[in-house]
């Protein structure tokens, strides 16, 4: 193991994407340092439901990448030599209005042809698929029968365990203070624990990407919002087989007041029997990890609307996830122009499903300067963005990165 502070590659950000890149690069024989400001998965990677999903893919350019990466999950546990808690699971989006129905039509026509099962189902069928759902007021649902769920922590540590064996230098609680540039080339990073140098630097920094860019005068077009979530005690009286989401955000995006909590319900039962429930989203960048004083209430209310029996279940933890999105729904993936040696790998939709392929793509970029796996030119980090039709986005005109919640 490299005990100096010079490496072939430095990766910043030990989220699921950073861990995958670390695994693939060390497998290819590079000396790698993975630098993380807190603990592994301290950002959104450790704060999500582990959904391995293809049904919310950005439909213009991202389908080939998501399909390829999704297939990797078939053999990932064998390749990494440990369980990551992966299982096939269906995804059910409950539609409560015609507007929500209409919003899914384009997706329902494109996805099945691309190999992603996705269909409209009426309320009676919803209750067949998920008996615990209260069907009152339902218009129907979109049903993606072949999705997945994994344990996000085990996924990250499966990558890391192997990477550590392959010589990775893992540096947690190490915060990047400065990106070091010399003659148009990035040469390293300065941190609170000294400086580290490398010929290539990969930023897998999600919600922190923008501010790193600002340090060097680059405007990387990533937006952040704060998602909130909670987990209950194990509760076996209720069985929920799919990942169930609501689509109310669609009207709220169009009509809702600018500063409201945007409450989307996402509910899933883990293999241990705990419920991961609901998600209340707040536009604007809030990275302090603190849940708002209104989010627990919003999440509880919306989840009991669809699953009344949850009222008696006990919540054991709430948390927030600093989630990112881009205006066109595509990641920032690729080399930064006019700055040698810097690669971005941020804002995937979603990071979990794309993590295997992201590791392979970045390894190819470092190995041979281009990627043959898929066409990543649409994901160029500094492209001009046009707003796409996305399944879920918070309109950028409604968000103000620096606005304090009022």
């Amino acid at each position: 193991m490299n005990t100096s502070n010079t490496f072939d590659v430095i990766i910043v950000g030990a989220g699921v994407v950073g861990c995958s890149i670390a695994y693939h690069l060390t497998k290819a024989g590079y000396s790698v340092a993975l630098i993380e400001q807190k603990h592994v998965g301290a950002g959104a990677s450790g704060a999500n439901f582990g959904m391995v999903q293809s049904n919310d893919v950005e439909i213009k350019h991202s389908i080939p990448m998501v399909l390829k990466s999704y297939k990797r999950f078939d053999s990932l546990e064998e390749e990494l030599g440990m369980s990551i808690g992966f299982r096939r699971i269906a995804s059910l989006r409950l539609l409560s209005s015609e507007t929500q129905w209409k919003n899914s039509i384009e997706r329902a026509s494109i996805l099945p042809n691309a190999g992603i099962p996705y269909e409209f189902v009426p309320p009676e069928r919803v209750v067949e698929i998920e008996p615990a759902v209260s069907p009152g007021g339902l218009f129907g649902a979109t049903y993606a029968s072949y999705q997945g769920q994994t344990n996000p922590f085990l996924l990250m540590w499966a990558f890391l365990r192997k990477a550590n064996q392959q010589g990775l230098s893992l540096q947690t609680h190490t915060e990047v203070k400065k990106l070091l540039i010399q003659s148009g080339r990035i040469i390293g990073v300065e941190t609170n624990r000294g400086s580290f140098y490398a010929g290539s630097i990969v930023l897998a920094t999600a919600a922190w990407t923008r501010r790193l860019g600002e340090m060097i005068g680059h405007n990387w077009n990533i937006h952040t919002f704060r998602a909130s979530a909670m987990v209950t005690e194990r509760f076996s009286d209720l069985q929920v087989n799919s990942i169930v989401t609501s689509a109310d955000h669609i009207e709220m995006e169009i009509n809702g007041p600018k500063d409201s909590e945007l409450t989307v319900m996402a509910l899933s039962q883990t293999q241990e029997g705990n419920f991961l429930i609901a998600q209340a989203d707040r536009p604007g960048e809030v990275l302090d990890g603190k849940i708002s004083h209104v989010a627990p209430k919003a999440m509880s209310t919306i989840s009991t609307r669809f699953f009344p029996v949850l009222r008696k279940v006990k919540i054991i933890r709430t948390w927030t996830a600093p989630t990112t999105y881009t205006e066109d729904g595509m990641p920032l993936l690729g080399p930064v122009e006019d700055l040698q040696g810097l690669i971005l790998a941020a804002s995937f939709r979603s990071a979990i499903v794309n993590s295997p392929i992201a590791g392979e793509i970045v390894t190819q970029l470092i190995n041979q300067d281009h990627c043959d796996l898929i066409d990543i030119s649409p994901f160029a980090p500094e492209r001009t963005m046009t707003q796409a039709d996305t399944v879920y986005r918070v309109k950028s005109s409604r968000t103000d990165e620096n606005e304090m919640p009022d």
Binding site: H293, K297, S300, T304
Partner: protein, 474 residues
């Protein structure tokens, strides 16, 4: 339902009660919250009215007079009120405390909060520690004094410190046979000599200790120094306890092992501060070698690094009830000055008056901590198949495996192994993970960091939190 006040005090043990009394007497509007049915905390644990008892002890008189003083103030007291979260309300710029309780407001806001949440039993894992019939010294006290239940008929008490003497004595008084009280520390007398001077003025404590000793001698309970439980066994509850003599570093000497038939094993390894709210609020913490955990940093007036949040009593470091009473007074005065209910002269006078007493109590607490410390060897009692995280049933072997993956903090261990993800959210196993990691990864315990706390700090039913009656989300 939302309430507003000037000061919220969380925890109605001696420290919290005194804080509320002092603040209210200075003219502040105070709300005092406690999760138990009646106030008093652990130190002044009130016996239910249904039980008749006859207690003219000093302890009882001290409690009664404090409760009476509290009753004579305008403090609004809510018991059976469980605080599950502390948030910052950006609209009002106040702290918002969320409470689960039938007759209590669901949300209370104030600019100042004094956290006086006390401490709880410190645990050490050993084979069989999760068997029914293995209870902590604190639990034994609750069962005996508060519930009128005899934990068992034939007990061994093992641990360190004066609290287990109290437990043993109370067991004997209630009719249990206590075979032995095992103090894991060697050389108490030698260790205690440097602190002899701090015993001056602690007559009451010494009298208590003498009473415990009397009970034990009467019942021929052996009091052994440098001994400890190493294993508990039994089919569905504890039936056999194996004890061993310890070497100077606290490692059990296997040739000295003896086994006893019991139906109860009381383990008393002292107390550990309840620091959930400080980690929830992300205040600056510092590592205490003596306590083996991170504690909130406080300024001279016991304010944490979060504006308006104060920490007094055992929750900020074990110091005992008398110290909590004194700290509570100072914190109350300082907040009264900040809210213009008192002037800085009265604060200075209060500090002057209590300074010597505070120093004396701190010295006594330090002595107890030094003399009755847990030797390193005891952290090796756990075997690979010993449960470390009781909520999720995670074994030592699984925790060690997580360290071997490359974990660099207790949070990494938690994420890999699930330790700390259960209902108690790491209350019991959090510090154990740091001990294990420090040994396995050969690093300092403080380099293991600590588990973050998020609301709710205790499991709360969804129904308590959800929006009721079209209440506007404030």
């Amino acid at each position: 339902m939302m309430e507003k006040t000037e000061l919220i005090v969380i925890g109605a043990g001696p420290g919290g009660i005194q804080t509320a009394i002092t603040a209210s007497q200075l003219g502040m509007d105070v709300i005092l919250l406690d999760s138990q049915r009646v106030v008093g905390g652990q130190y002044f644990k009130q016996v239910p009215e249904e039980f008749t008892f006859d207690d003219t002890s000093y302890h009882h008189r001290q409690a009664s007079s404090l409760f009476m003083e509290l009753q004579n103030t305008k403090v609004r007291i809510y018991s059976n009120a469980l605080v599950w979260g502390i948030f910052h309300n950006p609209k009002t710029n106040l702290w918002q405390v969320t409470v689960q309780g039938e007759n209590c407001p669901a949300r209370i806001e104030a600019a100042f909060i004094v956290i006086a949440t006390g401490a709880y039993d410190r645990s050490i894992p050993f084979p069989g520690w999760d068997l029914p019939g293995v209870i902590t010294a604190g639990a034994a006290q609750v069962m005996l004094k508060n519930q009128g239940i005899l934990p068992g008929k034939r007990a061994i008490v093992s641990g360190t410190g004066p609290l287990q003497l109290a437990a043993a004595s109370n067991l004997i008084e209630a009719g249990s046979q206590v075979i032995a009280v095992l103090e894991c520390s060697h050389n108490l007398i030698a260790k205690g000599i440097p602190y002899l001077s701090s015993l001056w003025g602690q007559w009451r404590r010494m009298a208590e200790g003498f009473q415990y000793a009397k009970n034990m001698v009467k019942e021929k309970t052996s009091y052994r120094f440098g001994w400890c439980v190493v294993r508990a066994e039994g089919l569905e509850k504890v039936e056999t306890v194996t004890i061993a003599k310890l070497d100077k570093a606290g490692y059990p000497i296997s040739s000295s092992q003896q086994s006893f038939d019991v139906d109860t094993l009381v383990v008393g390894f002292g107390l550990t501060p309840s620091t959930e709210f400080f980690r929830l609020l992300n205040v600056d913490m510092h590592y205490s070698q003596a306590e083996g955990i991170f504690l909130p940093k406080r300024n001279y007036f016991f304010q944490t690094s979060a504006q308006g949040i104060y920490a007094i009593g055992d929750c900020a470091g074990i110091g005992g009830a008398n110290l909590a009473l004194l700290e509570g007074q100072i914190a109350a005065f300082e907040i009264a000055v900040k809210t213009s209910h008192a002037n800085s002269f009265s604060l200075e006078a209060a500090i002057k008056q209590t300074k010597t007493k505070i120093l004396r109590e701190q010295k006594f607490a330090r002595m107890l901590g030094d003399v009755f410390s847990i030797p390193q060897g005891l952290f090796t009692l756990a075997q690979p198949d010993t449960i470390i995280c009781r909520c999720e049933q995670i074994t030592l072997a699984e925790v060690q495996e997580a360290v071997n993956f490359g974990a660099q903090s207790v949070t990494d261990i938690k994420n890999i192994s699930r330790s700390g993800m259960g209902n108690c959210q790491g209350r019991t196993c959090g510090s154990l993970l740091a001990q294990i990691m420090s040994r396995e990864a050969k690093c300092e315990p403080q380099a293991c960091h600590y588990l973050n706390v998020r609301p709710p700090v205790h499991p709360i039913p969804v129904s308590i939190i959800e929006e009721k009656d079209n209440e506007v989300l404030a």
